[in-house]
């Protein structure tokens, strides 16, 4: 695969969904798609310099582009609000009990610092190891680990306080 077009297409096919998925957690759909497109445009320009694996790098670019959204219409929303909004976009399929659980969990999450929630997203939804997640977030591995630990602890506490019975069951 020496052909740059081939390499880029492969990169796009493998990672577009992940990059857009992340962007959707921060901004509305149309802006998220634009940010993803731009992320890959940056990747095209820097194709010869991409690290392996490239996903953390791509997510890092997307994260920086999102941070630059100054336009009020496109201002990024709180992570937890976006997660809740995306759940509302899902039509049907959810039973009430799950909704109640989810609402409680989201309420607990909204009490956490944004970056702590983000640390959880990278760890659990993306399965990124700490060094990769830290690279995306532009912090040290130590800082990332602190955030992740804090998030887990608070989430645990909040859930135990909020739902003694159901969580135990």
């Amino acid at each position: 695969m020496d052909d740059p077009e081939e390499r880029f297409t492969d990169l796009y096919d493998r990672h577009y969904r992940s990059v857009l998925g992340y962007a959707l957690l921060r901004v509305e759909r149309d802006v998220a798609e634009d940010v993803s497109s731009e992320t890959f445009l940056v990747a095209w320009r820097r194709l010869d310099d991409l690290p392996e694996p490239p996903l953390p790098w791509l997510l890092g670019v997307a994260r920086n582009l999102l941070a630059k959204q100054r336009d009020s219409r496109h201002r990024r929303q709180a992570l937890v609000d976006r997660i809740a909004a995306l759940h509302r976009e899902q039509v049907g399929g959810d039973v009430a009990e799950h909704v109640a659980d989810r609402e409680a969990a989201l309420a607990a999450l909204s009490a956490l610092p944004e970056q702590d929630v983000e640390a959880m997203v990278f760890a659990t939804w993306y399965g990124l190891p700490p060094e990769q997640a830290a690279a995306v977030m532009g912090c040290s591995v130590r800082t990332y680990n602190v955030r992740l630990h804090r998030a887990r602890k608070r989430l645990n506490q909040a859930l135990r306080v909020g739902y003694p019975s159901r969580r135990m069951a």
């Binding site: 497109s37 445009l41 997660i83 977030m137």
Partner: protein, 394 residues
């Protein structure tokens, strides 16, 4: 425990949204990127950029990437730097027309991803819209009158060779006029033909011709036709016709057969050379220039079962042709949308291809004279079948 619970919080809508957007935006994103210049490899300057643009946290991030990648720090981009490289590209690429070259390069990439398929019969169903140039009954009557007149004159001029030659010329001009005088309305005959070509040499193929229908350029054209007395515009072919004559694959390239297509080169350079050689041997039935030949041959190849690698190389060869313009997204006669690429040849004739950005398949090709289409051929279906009667699935 907490992680598992958190994992369950991942919205299911996310996967649907990303999958849908991936399909919708892929071709435009690829084409848009290919149209943008790439930063040349400049490893020696990287450490400077890395240090100059970062604070302590950034350095830590870069260090983290080093751990992950195992590459030398000099080769690594810093995520914090990346957006600076492209400060102005914030608008949606799908909203602006993509240039023809980058679209074709994207198609080349897409074509590569197609699995190579094979079968016993190559099936093509195409619907051809041709501009009706003459009303057959009127043309016949006028032509007959002309011939009679000519024969009469010839008898009169017997033994006067100079006068005879001049008269012949005069009649030729009159015939040409008869054939090319535009009708006062724009009408197209549409005929659908299905063909099955056998992969095995010597095995009979099959083709089906469906009844010809007439369509008009616009309702005004239809009204003008009615005003002219609704003359019959096509010879009627009420039934489906069946024949097992071998249909030639590419009229301008008699050496190409279904059996030797897989020998065609798979790289851009080699295919370009092969097309050059084919052009030199071509009977060039349309008497067109080289550009016209290349597009017609390109169409013949796109509608034939060439390998994914040859198809990809073909798109790259076409991408390097001068004078291709993108006319944006258009619908074909079936309502499918694709990118319209146009290239003009001599004599105010231009070729236009409509290519599906998602599959890199040719949907329709057209020949235009100035701003009016003379011919539109819609590729309704193509694929392999096991029998000369079945149609491909899907």
């Amino acid at each position: 425990m907490t992680d598992r619970m958190f994992a369950e919080l991942k919205p299911a809508a996310l996967d649907e949204l990303t999958e849908e957007a991936y399909r919708r935006r892929r071709s435009a994103d690829l084409a848009h990127a290919f149209a943008a210049p790439r930063t040349p490899r400049r490893r020696s300057r990287r450490p400077f950029l890395l240090v100059a643009g970062t604070v302590v946290a950034g350095l830590a991030a870069a260090a983290a990437v080093v751990v992950v990648s195992g590459q030398s720090p000099a080769a690594l981009p810093n995520p914090r730097q990346a957006p600076i490289a492209a400060p102005s590209e914030t608008r949606t690429p799908s909203a602006r027309p993509v240039n023809a070259r980058s679209f074709l390069l994207a198609a080349a990439s897409t074509a590569m991803r197609d699995p190579a398929r094979a079968g016993r019969y190559w099936y093509v169903r195409e619907r051809t819209f041709t501009k009706v140039r003459v009303v057959p009954s009127e043309y016949e009557a006028k032509a007959k009158a002309l011939i009679e007149e000519m024969e009469k004159k010839e008898k009169e001029l017997e033994g006067a060779p100079e006068g005879l030659a001049a008269t012949k010329k005069e009649f030729e001009a009159k015939f040409l006029e008869l054939k090319t005088t535009d009708l006062p309305y724009l009408a197209y005959s549409a005929d659908t033909r299905e063909s099955w070509r056998a992969m095995k040499k010597g095995e009979p193929g099959r083709s089906l011709s469906h009844p010809v229908t007439v369509t008009f350029g616009s309702p005004e054209d239809e009204a003008a036709w009615k005003a002219a007395g609704s003359p019959k515009l096509v010879e009627s072919t009420p039934r489906v016709r069946l024949d097992d004559t071998e249909r030639i694959l590419s009229i301008d390239n008699p050496s190409l057969t279904l059996q030797n297509l897989s020998d065609l080169p798979t790289t851009e350079g080699a295919l370009k050379g092969e097309l050059e050689a084919l052009w030199k041997r071509s009977p060039n039935t349309a008497q067109t220039d080289k550009r016209g030949y290349l597009w017609q041959t390109g169409v013949d190849l796109m509608t034939a079962p060439i390998t994914p690698a040859t198809r990809s190389a073909l798109f790259k060869v076409l991408a390097d042709q001068p004078g291709i313009t993108s006319q944006g997204q258009v619908a074909d006669t079936m309502g499918r949308t694709g990118a319209a690429l146009s290239v003009s040849t001599a004599d105010a004739i231009s070729y236009r291809l409509i290519i599906d950005g998602e599959t890199a398949e040719l949907l329709q090709y057209e020949v235009w004279e100035k701003d009016k289409p003379l011919l539109k051929v819609t590729l309704e279906q193509m694929g392999w079948t096991d029998t000369p009667k079945a149609r491909p699935e899907g």
